[in-house]
Subunit: 325 residues, 4 copies
């Protein structure tokens, strides 16, 4: 592969606040350094269906503060097939794209890794997911905004929980990772968090019910990571059954957790990693995710980034425990 002149950029998977800031950073950082930029719409589907158009600095004006992604996003079934990827590569060649920047989460970077193994195209990932579950970067783009959105919502729920002296089970996103649940529980002064990294059984619930509600506190908030089987509804039902007499309610925050104007941190992280992606391309890097660790921009091989064992600081469980007395 020769000199890189044109860089394609796409967003893929679940949208995350800050994706637009990342698109802006890659576009402007690229143009600043002499590259052409092409925007690819609707994730990998847009590569396959050739929904691609040239981007100038104006295309990304006024988007740094907007949620969602101007490039749209999708989870592509077709890109999971060899035929899909072949079509995608053909379009890349036809469009004269020499490198790809993919903004997305675990699944999207896995797709990029496979694609890069099959075809000779440098792929650079940016960690765009609210779940914070990518390895090798302290935070992912979108995580901080979503954490703040949850905190705002739970602060509101606390008002009504206290006024009515109720128990609320609040379900938040993060199916496979409890970062959002555990940290929002600490930040809202919740009484407990139920997370995938830690088992929660009846005894614990009882313990917390006795500690919290039965003494001076009359209301209580439990944050629950979403889960097909053991979500907020499941725990609310169990508490109703095992501790009758409490006024138990459920709130499932749902999709509003994905939207909204990105926080300062997410915009800065997106800007730094976006500029980092262009630098990575100029250095000849490929098949890496750009992250920020210990306040330094780092390059993480895709295979590491998508590891499912991002360390979860178990001390946070102690912090929540001590402070919910």
């Amino acid at each position: 592969m020769g000199k890189i002149k044109t860089i394609g950029i796409l967003t893929s998977g679940g949208d995350a606040p800050g994706m637009n800031a990342a698109i802006r950073a890659v576009t402007r950082g690229g143009i600043y350094n002499g590259f052409n930029i092409k925007g690819i719409y609707r994730g990998y589907d847009g590569l396959i269906n050739d929904e691609i158009k040239p981007f100038t600095t104006e295309n990304v004006s006024g988007i740094i503060n907007r949620g969602g992604t101007i490039l749209k996003t999708a989870r592509s079934k077709e890109f999971e097939t060899p035929e899909g990827r072949e079509k995608a590569y053909k379009n890349i060649q036809d469009e004269g794209i020499d490198a790809l920047v993919i903004i997305g989460g675990n699944g999207s970077l896995t797709g990029a890794m496979i694609f890069a193994q099959e075809y000779d195209i440098p792929c650079i990932g940016l960690p765009g997911t609210i779940d914070n579950d990518l390895y090798g970067t302290d935070n992912t783009i979108g995580y901080d905004t979503t954490l703040n959105t949850i905190v705002e919502c739970v602060d509101r729920i606390r008002d009504t929980a206290q006024s009515h002296e109720r128990i609320f089970f609040v379900e938040v996103m993060g199916r496979d990772a409890g970062f959002l649940a555990q940290n929002s529980a600490i930040a809202t002064g919740a009484e407990a968090a139920i997370i995938p990294e830690d088992s929660t059984d009846v005894d614990q619930l009882q313990n917390f019910m006795e500690r919290g509600i039965r003494k001076s506190k009359k209301s209580c908030i439990v944050i629950v990571s979403e889960s097909p089987k053991c979500g907020a509804l499941y725990y609310a039902d169990r508490v109703k059954k095992e501790f009758p007499g409490y006024d138990v309610r459920v709130s499932i925050l749902g999709h509003l957790q994905r939207g909204g104007s990105p926080s300062a941190r997410d915009r800065i992280l997106a800007s730094r990693t976006g500029v980092g992606a262009i630098e990575a391309i100029m250095q000849g890097q490929r098949n890496i995710m750009v992250g920020v660790r210990n306040n330094e921009v780092v390059y993480v091989p895709f295979a590491d980034a998508i590891r499912s064992d991002k360390p979860f600081d178990r001390k946070l469980i102690t912090v929540l425990d001590e402070l919910s007395i």
Copy 2:
């Protein structure tokens, strides 16, 4: 009944943002005009169980900007019985309370009306409900904040709806009144609102699907008033069945709609009606709700306030229709 010296104040029913501002206004307005104020906790239950304490201006310091109610609230079953009301009246006499201010919605004011018919105690109501369904006041305390909360949430959902090109059915509060749904639909640029005041059938949904989605717009938001049978889940299911091929999602905003720091309007409405309640007492008024109509403080007899036919401006349906093209 002799000269009024001591005023009791309580909040009842579903909590609404601005209730604290109303408690503050009644307390300070009362003290300013020479009355003693007593705070009654947990609504009518607190009257029955004698959860009452004297209030000074300091008790209501720093609460104007806080959601919920420092007096707590409840829906009292016991107060619906003659025995309950008898206990309540006995405590009122024992505490030396000469007049009551009740902040609450339809059910709470109905309770006050019945109580005032049975016992010689002047009752003054303040319209504290997010639903805006009290007759004789342009707005209720809490309505404006909840409207803004819904708008903020739907703005966020719009980000993700557009990024993924999805149809969202968003369920908001207002079981018997579509004020929240219709007005939030206009304010968010939603494509449709489904409200109790207006029937929505398959034809209409089809009409709107064809008008909106099938042309240039690829995403769509429908706001749905909560309903035991025909809520957001019901309509989402029907659309999935009758218009397969769309990516349909549901978001039920739930209890977070009740909380949060009250908006400027709600704080002002609460302050004006709170001061108005004290003036009403000084004028010898009883058994009325204090509202604001055409920017003037008005007194509305309880029997009128709780009428179920607060006029709904049907022109708002036209406004939404024209602007969602």
Copy 3:
């Protein structure tokens, strides 16, 4: 003048949150009813310099929730001259514009009135100003958002005022009208408001200092309407001089009061009056401002709308007085 086919729309004067929602409503309401819409950029200057382009429903997509104005705005010196207005009219004819919708405040509607007296062009105004000083409409577009922005800022300042036990003079917009100052003072629980509608002299300040600070309260907020001579700095200086020993600070909120995503109310008011402007044109109205009074859309002749004596409810002064004890 024959049948109206094409409507031009512009924003003028100081920008106000909700102007975009108004542009959207006029554009979509117009197109819905069969008109062509042309957007005119930079207020009256754009009429003079022919900065005009056709608008479709897509031009106004995704703007209902955005502050500022996509049409830009300006205070045109040239339009104040007969020559300027002549150029403007010539462009109107060349562009085939049959009616004008002007979104702006006092000065902008005055310009429209003069223009409509000189040339045969129906002019419809929308009340777009944060100051709320247009007669005949209960609220102006932008006023509610700015009120909430001020309240948010003062809530923040209160945190630091209380922590340090300081006196803050906070200057807000509204040079000739105290609506913002008086209402934000009530909404934030400020100790006093200094407004153009009411004289504030040393005695009053002393009175309030003695009442508030010298008793239990140790911090204090005074909201001051901006004024060339007697703004927040002036009063802060006087208090420092006459009441030494207090820790006095000044905060001038400035231009951030103009921006931000419009509140629910402002979006709804903009939507209703925008649709109302199209209806006015269809009814053959001209030279009127569309407002909302007592929750009904009304048409107010320009000469009335720009009257400088919009009634100020002096009872609000009493409310603030009683509640700041």
Copy 4:
């Protein structure tokens, strides 16, 4: 000194959002681990004047989400004198306080260091300052909230800047450290930042004016760190003089930057360092600041924490430069 039984806690210097969350964490973490907690009011002045009262878990209920500090704060002149510190120590002994936790910035921790050198009392600091200028911790408590507050304000100013096509110089806090200015400039997509860490001369301003305004952009935001001599007013004046023809405005954000409900991050940082302070005391640590570095709780000797050379990542200057094209 014998076994530590009672811990005193105070906040000192400029207030920062998250101080309340820190007070809560120290109090609850302390009580959880068997200590008595005493709250000291008004910073070091409260030590000197014996404004001290016992704290229970209830004293810190419902404060995690509130700005300011319930303990009040002050900059104590008297504590800078040996006599003041002597009085303070006497009160500490009389109150039976065995260890002190001080939440504050540079000046406050310097005071703690001096005090601990003179008297046998373990002092533990928490980094409570919006400026982020304490060495050895990645972030200080309050920095993230203030950064987000600035970003929100500048987003608003951008609306009006674009609508009027103006140049805004926005002054933000951070007299000796450009963290707030540089990072908020990146996060808001500002065109430039003027910070103490970097000289900005006429040539640069010219360069940026030519690059930005004179091409496609018609509005521009420059973020300026506050400075006695070279603040936003100074640069605005120079630009007006040297580049006449631009519409230049100034906005000084001022004290509202200190207030507001703390962000998720600040609450978590405060909670972790608060628990960390108790652990430090249990380990026999003294005269250290508790920080978080690389997501780990760390102990930093006071002498290091107050070093004036916290590293500023100059790459952020490049990021801003590339992205403001």
